[in-house]
């Protein structure tokens, strides 16, 4: 007797300690950028549908609740969910959206009031999990949809609100049902007991456990209200497994299975979730849809039996599909998440990231990432078909936003996932001709060159520091005589570019490169001019970002803000720029790179893109075709592609024959927002006869329009004559 009392006191203390001291480890949530909707916003074909699907929006006939979307004659009506952003709340709202040629032409409330800007909630793209891989999304009782508690109690614990934590009557009834059925169809555990089991006791089926479970449930019932216990149960219950990740609580379960917040669920979805409690693996709706449907329909029948719904409703709900989310759920962004994690770990302790429910807002663009993955996978497949299987072919792709330098997408592997190496970051390869734009920028910076400056593409022979001769040749093994600078770049002539680089000075070129964000030590050998410099695709993209940004370096960034679980702002990354080259020189270089896309080695992009889409780009190929590169920008996107073999052996691919295709397919599927061509004051366009270097009348044939600094304005010939 005394022992019993002492035991009870001990249990009581334990229960109160655990229950009150209990807090779940909440993984940090990583969000993609929210989609901004406004008049004039350009979308890619299919983008809006894709993004809404990923967010778990449901297409309905009449959108009248958050999370619904409706097709209209002009476009669609979206009922957004609202979200607490780092800078404040965005309310859920119904808007009508007109779309013409994938451009938003109007955005208004049903009343007709125009809406300047609407931010959809951001897609949750991942979490940073603790070692035990438990994931959950906390909910409160008022987050529950209609009918949820009734369904849960009808199935699991009918007398929940009237029993004392255990229910002898429930056990007898369960027993009776089981004997009648000749099998176990009902359990006698109350929700309180179930919670005790999961919360306080290990999973081992010991006698001791059995003996203390009931008193613990009784004690729990004494100390806490039914609602308190229920709320903890709702968050604790195990409802599925995604790889290593354990899905706990109905809040996350709703996101996981339906892609929707719990509050939006309809009764047939509620019935499925409640049905899953009995055996999340056995009734896994993704793997065993038939079993799951049967279980769900049984739950609906129980509701009808207990007169919670009518028979007609039962039949109606039983006829509905499972309505699982169509969005892909496995972490689709391993390369991107990898960098997010790396960056955060510099600033936060691992335990803070995996347990405090921080919210991480990133610039990941789900559409761009989706298209980047596709472009890589599909083009690598095509290249393998065209050239016969290229052994160990790897690839990486980096996409950033031209205006801000934010990273939008990262592909770290040839098949979109990655195991081991993130080729976008971890590995550096020689960049080959991708360095030529930097030579040009360094030259143009001096003010003594223009795209029309003639450079001799004659054989070069340079003595290296070890005494050997370096005699780089052109790819076609020919010399092209005197060529204008823009052509040397567009056609990627090695001899002309080495001569230009030597005139400017290797050290000057490398200084320029450094200003653009490449800070590793690079010895100033002439071979550096042809890209005997190892860089990761991410670094290359940083360099091209500066060119795209009119000479202003913006560090590639991917975390916008970090907030606490309750929304309080913790960190924020301010947008910053630093001038790395003059606007004038960069403007001229951008034009030269545009010529490369129109007439030069990068012209293959127009197999994919319409002629009016402006592209500034450069191909890169290293010795013996070990690396196939393509980097450049168009509209609002800067992107870099690398392809090569894991073992760095030769491939059959040049930059134009390999990486270009990935790049161009990607751009083809991204919204093209024109980037205004703003000509600097001190630059003028001239219609040139490139052979004489003189300007000539606009109507002369064979002329080339080139931007040239006004100070080096060419002489004007009144005739077209040569």
């Amino acid at each position: 007797m005394v022992i019993g009392v002492v035991g009870l006191v001990y249990l009581d203390a334990q229960i109160r300690h655990r229950f009150e001291g209990h807090r779940w480890s909440l993984p940090a949530k990583v969000y993609a950028r929210p989609l901004e909707l406004f008049k004039g916003q350009k979308m890619a074909a299919g983008q809006l549908d894709y993004e809404l699907t990923q967010l778990g929006y449901r297409w309905v006939k009449h959108a009248n609740a958050p999370g619904q979307v409706q097709k209209t004659n002009q476009g669609m009506a979206i009922y957004s969910r609202g979200f607490r952003f780092a800078d404040g709340n965005e309310l859920g709202v119904l808007v009508e959206l007109s779309l013409q040629h994938n451009t938003i032409t109007d955005l208004r409330q049903p009343s007709g009031t125009s809406v300047a800007l609407l931010r959809l909630e951001p897609q949750l793209v991942g979490g940073i999990y603790p070692a035990h891989n438990e994931d959950r999304e906390l909910i409160q009782l008022n987050d529950l949809p209609n009918g949820f508690i009734e369904t849960l109690l009808a199935v699991e614990d009918r007398n929940y609100y009237s029993h004392y934590g255990i229910s002898p009557w429930g056990i007898v009834r369960a027993l009776w049902a089981n004997i009648q059925a000749g099998a176990v169809v009902q359990g006698g555990s109350t929700l309180t007991q179930q919670l005790v089991k999961n919360f306080y006791l290990t999973d081992r089926q010991t006698l001791w456990r059995k003996l203390i479970e009931a008193p613990m449930a009784l004690l729990l019932n004494v100390h806490y209200s039914k609602d308190e216990v229920l709320e903890v149960y709702l968050n604790e219950v195990f409802v599925g497994q995604a790889g290593k990740r354990a899905i706990h609580g109905f809040g996350l379960a709703s996101r996981f299975y339906f892609g929707q917040p719990l509050s939006e669920l309809k009764l047939h979805q509620v019935a499925l979730l409640v049905g899953l409690v009995k055996g999340p693996s056995y009734y896994n709706p993704q793997r065993y849809p038939k079993r799951a449907t049967k279980r769900r329909n049984l739950v609906l029948s129980i509701l009808a039996q207990q007169n919670l719904i009518s028979d007609a409703q039962k039949i109606q709900y039983q006829g509905l599909p499972l309505d699982l989310t169509e969005a892909t759920k496995v972490s689709r962004y391993p390369a991107y998440m990898d960098v997010v994690r790396q960056q955060l770990q510099q600033h936060y302790q691992a335990s803070a990231l995996s347990s405090h429910g921080l919210r991480i807002f990133t610039s990941l663009d789900p559409w761009v990432q989706h298209q980047a993955d596709r472009a890589m996978v599909e083009q690598v497949l095509k290249l393998n078909q065209r050239h016969g299987k290229i052994k160990g072919l790897q690839g990486a792709l980096v996409v950033s936003h031209r205006g801000s330098g934010e990273l939008l997408a990262l592909v770290g592997d040839h098949n979109g996932g990655y195991a081991g190496h993130n080729w976008a970051l971890d590995r550096s390869r020689q960049v080959g001709s991708l360095l030529k734009p930097v030579i040009h920028l360094a030259a143009l910076e001096t003010g003594q060159y223009s795209p029309a400056t003639m450079i001799n593409d004659a054989p070069v022979s340079l003595q290296q520091s070890d005494g050997t001769l370096w005699q780089p040749q052109n790819y076609d093994r020919k010399s092209h005589g005197k060529v204008p600078m823009y052509e040397a770049l567009a056609k990627s002539y090695n001899q002309a570019n080495v001569r230009l680089g030597m005139q400017v000075g290797v050290d000057k070129v490398l200084q320029q490169l450094k200003k653009m964000g490449v800070d590793q030590f690079i010895p100033a050998y002439p071979s550096a001019l042809l890209g005997a410099v190892e860089m990761s695709p991410l670094q290359v993209n940083q360099v091209y970002q500066t060119i795209a940004g009119n000479g202003f370096y913006s560090p590639l960034s991917l975390v916008r803000q970090v907030t606490q679980a309750n929304g309080q702002l913790l960190s924020h990354f301010p947008f910053a720029v630093r001038q790395a080259a003059s606007n004038d020189a960069t403007y001229l270089l951008q034009h030269e790179m545009r010529m490369a896309a129109h007439y030069g080695t990068a012209k293959g992009v127009y197999q994919y893109l319409p002629k009016q889409q402006q592209v500034s780009a450069k191909t890169g190929t290293t010795n013996d075709l070990k690396d196939s590169w393509f980097a450049g920008f168009s509209g609002q996107h800067v992107a870099t592609v690398w392809l090569g073999r894991e073992d760095a052996k030769p491939t059959p691919l040049t930059g134009a024959g390999g990486a270009l295709h990935v790049w161009a397919q990607l751009m083809q599927h991204l919204a093209y927002t024109t980037y205004k061509d703003i000509k600097p004051q001190l630059i003028e366009n001239y219609h040139l006869n490139v052979k004489t270097g003189k300007a000539m009348p606009n109507n002369c044939p064979n002329g080339v329009w080139l931007p040239i600094p006004k100070v080096s304005a060419p002489a004007f010939n009144k005739t077209c004559g040569y």
Partner: protein
């Protein structure tokens, strides 16, 4: 859990006291493979910490570009159970803020550029709305939130000079003169033929350089500004 049902049927046939006391485990909901549902051990749990963040985690603009500003040593979690989910707010409407034409920036700017005439309104309504929101946030003392709004505008309209003007002015008012100078320099590349902007940006560059103690640079900027007055 399904596996448990088999074990459980033994109990059913025995009708044991154990069953009466503990109930049948058939409705248990632990995971099949391993029990990950056990609450974190004390060592893994959050320490009990004050509900307020220590002052060292205040959000301030970072001095150098890509750095996370807050560096919580011991991160503090809110004490009570928190709801993180988006709260769907139904039947609420977006408040569309009236956009004043030619909204003047003069009043929000650092004193040294306060005398510049108002900048022309952006032709994008969305930009004006975000600038207005940023102004309101700043007026409420929510400077970081104001910066976030301006950065939103910068992403949406990266070639809109007015956004750079506001960002630069705000950074200058926060004492980030170097950052302000660079933003203004970038802004200049967008306005080769817009005198009011050229004047404004050069004034702001002058003020920034003055703050940085670069008197030579300041003089140059002032001379440039004079050209566009």
């Amino acid at each position: 859990m399904y596996n448990n049902q088999i074990t459980c049927s033994k109990y059913v046939s025995l009708i044991s006291l154990m069953l009466v006391l503990g109930g049948c485990a058939a409705t248990g909901y632990g995971p099949v493979v391993e029990d990950l549902s056990v609450p974190a051990r004390a060592s893994e749990r959050l320490p009990t910490l004050p509900s307020q963040l220590p002052a060292s985690i205040q959000v301030t603009p970072a001095p150098s570009a890509p750095v996370v500003t807050a560096k919580p040593k011991a991160y503090v979690a809110p004490k009570s159970v928190v709801t993180i989910t988006a709260q769907p707010v139904s039947n609420q409407v977006v408040t569309v803020i009236a956009v004043p034409e030619n909204a003047s920036v003069a009043t929000q700017e650092a004193p040294s550029v306060a005398q510049t005439p108002p900048l022309p309104a952006s032709d994008q309504a969305v930009v004006e709305q975000l600038l207005t929101e940023a102004d309101q946030l700043k007026a409420q003392g929510k400077v970081t939130e104001a910066v976030i709004q301006l950065q939103r505008a910068q992403r949406i309209a990266p070639q809109e000079p007015k956004v750079y003007a506001r960002l630069a002015a705000l950074q200058l008012s926060l004492g980030e003169a170097s950052r302000a100078e660079q933003l203004a320099l970038k802004g200049l590349t967008l306005v080769p033929n817009k005198k009011s902007y050229q004047y404004y940006f050069w004034k702001l560059i002058g003020a920034s350089r003055s703050n940085l103690g670069d008197s030579q640079g300041e003089a140059k900027a002032i001379a440039q500004a004079a050209k566009y007055k």
